[in-house]
């Protein structure tokens, strides 16, 4: 019964997410921009299939870094707060559905929708690159998987914010604030601190990895370029210290972020779902 309940709820969440205007706008933007990027990079800079793939993928990583956390955070933020605001939560909770099943179905449904959007975005590029013979399928697959992990991490952080809010406007504002911090301010702040305090490379790497979007950036770069020289001393240190296992380690870190975010949200909901 519990498994069936989660399935019924998750299907509904998936349907709702696929109808959500925020989600649709982001997914379409992702699809259009990734296709346009692939085309542009290939037409302007590719001299060989491999470099064409590398340049396209690097551009895609930057694009994903902006869009995917935005999608995950906003969808997560809307998920619980909008149920509360619309009083739909009372109908959910009046059914024999435990808090765990309610939360799990939300995370599953929206997580699947996000994975579909990311796969579609990358898929469009992959089709194009395959067409011109410039795709490294394995690296592309790994990058897609890594991006889905980033989406899920952002989703659980959005859900965590939502778990404390009774209004969608508050939840979305908080999500946008967090997005700004993770994607823009976090990076700038880290660079400023590194310059001002002259942090050792190990500390610099450690602090960077607190931010899941940085973990994604580093893993993606390592995956595509095979080296982290571009990142300076911290990159060299990471290469030297962890070598080829670094992408796996960072992917595990993203997974850990998702799980921690998920458990924290569940713990808050378990305490009290209605506010």
């Amino acid at each position: 019964m519990a498994g069936n309940t989660v399935l019924v709820l998750a299907q509904k969440e998936l349907r709702d997410a696929l109808r959500n205007r925020w989600f649709l706008a982001d997914a379409v933007a992702l699809l259009v921009l990734s296709s346009a990027l692939s085309l542009l990079v290939f037409l302007t800079g590719a001299t060989s299939p491999v470099s064409g793939f590398g340049r396209t993928a690097a551009s895609l990583v930057n694009l994903m870094l902006l869009l995917v956390p935005l999608m995950g955070l906003t969808l997560g933020a809307l998920a619980l707060a909008s149920d509360r605001e619309r009083s739909a939560l009372e109908f959910w909770l009046a059914q024999p559905v435990g808090t765990g099943a309610y939360f799990l179905s939300k995370a599953l449904g929206i997580g699947l929708a996000l994975a579909a959007a990311v796969t579609l975005g990358f898929g469009a590029s992959a089709v194009f690159l395959l067409f011109v013979g410039a795709t490294d399928p394995l690296a592309f697959l790994a990058l897609t998987g890594l991006t889905i992990l980033l989406a899920w991490t952002s989703l659980t952080l959005g859900l965590l914010l939502s778990s404390r809010c009774s209004r969608t406007s508050t939840a979305v504002s908080l999500a946008l604030g967090l997005w700004l911090v993770l994607v823009l301010l976090g990076n700038l702040g880290l660079m400023g601190t590194a310059l001002a305090v002259r942090l050792p490379p190990s500390w610099l790497l450690g602090i960077a990895l607190v931010n899941p979007t940085e973990a994604y950036r580093i893993a993606a770069l390592r995956l595509l370029a095979g080296t982290l020289e571009l990142l300076g001393p911290a990159g060299l240190y990471a290469d030297e210290r962890f070598g080829a296992t670094l992408p796996h380690l960072l992917a595990s870190m993203l997974l850990l972020w998702s799980l921690v975010g998920g458990f924290a949200t569940y713990a808050i909901l378990r305490r009290e779902v209605l506010r």
């Binding site: 019964m1 069936n4 309940t5 019924v8 509904k12 709702d16 109808r19 619309r86 009083s87 739909a88 009372e90 109908f91 909770l93 009046a94 059914q95 024999p96 559905v97 435990g98 305490r271 009290e272 779902v273 209605l274």
Partner: protein
Amino acid sequence: MTTAPPIAVEQLTRNYDSQRGVIDLTFTVQPGEIFGFLGPNGAGKTTTIRVLMGFLRPTSGRARVFGLDCWTESTEIKKQVGYVPGDVRLWENMTGVQFLDFLGAFHQYIDPAWRRKLLERFRVELDKRIKHLSRGNRQKLALVQAFLHDPPLLILDEPTSGLDPLMQHEFLTFLREERDRGKTIFLSSHQLSEVERVADRVGIIREGRLVAVLTVEELKRRRTRPMELIFAQPVDPQHFADLPGVRVLSVHDEGRRIELGVQNELPALLRRLADLPVSDMIYAPPDLESVFLTYYQAETIPPAQEEAAS
């Protein structure tokens, strides 16, 4: 089926950060009765219901449904409960059929004949999207979903709000029939007439505290109905001092307008009025305030009564 009472609440208190919730509630709802939970808006009815449904954790005290703890065993409880929230807002993009199918999927078995009977009884519009339904039709849909799995306990928070008078009547008749089938019904309302029509016993809540639990017969006997009398000449309020079940609530215009509280003791009062220069009389139907007049005399009597008392 357990022998524990459908609802047992013991010294239940629930506080909010900034608002009063409910304080020290104790009551029991017996099997096969309609228990009216009566109180004005903001009295704590919805908070109590949300604790019973396991949506809110009690600050202190205990709430049990069929012997199960409302907080730790709420999933099990909800298999045996049908619920209508006070503020019915449904998923707007679903049609009525989709809504009922979706919620029905959470229960082990829905009897198709029973479902059909409910839909016919409440004349629910099923094919339209919920966002295109009127408030009354949404409410009917919410009522049907509560009864759909034929649960032994119904917890209904202001269930008739939004229904037209005919459908209200139909629904209250249906509640009595369900009670006769052995169902237990916890009916929250701020309408005295509604509760009086169907309930067996009534709990009265005000400002978060349970004022009284009594049978409907006791309630009718004890409630005080306000009567406003207009006289052609000033009348001494002492004319009413010796009448049983009658008390002076306020005196205005030097005795030309007097408000009385009357406890179903009309014959003696009417005889007394026949000797007085009555030019008009308003004897309103009983309402919630008339119940509170009984229990909160000091609080509800306006300052003008002091004039009468002196």
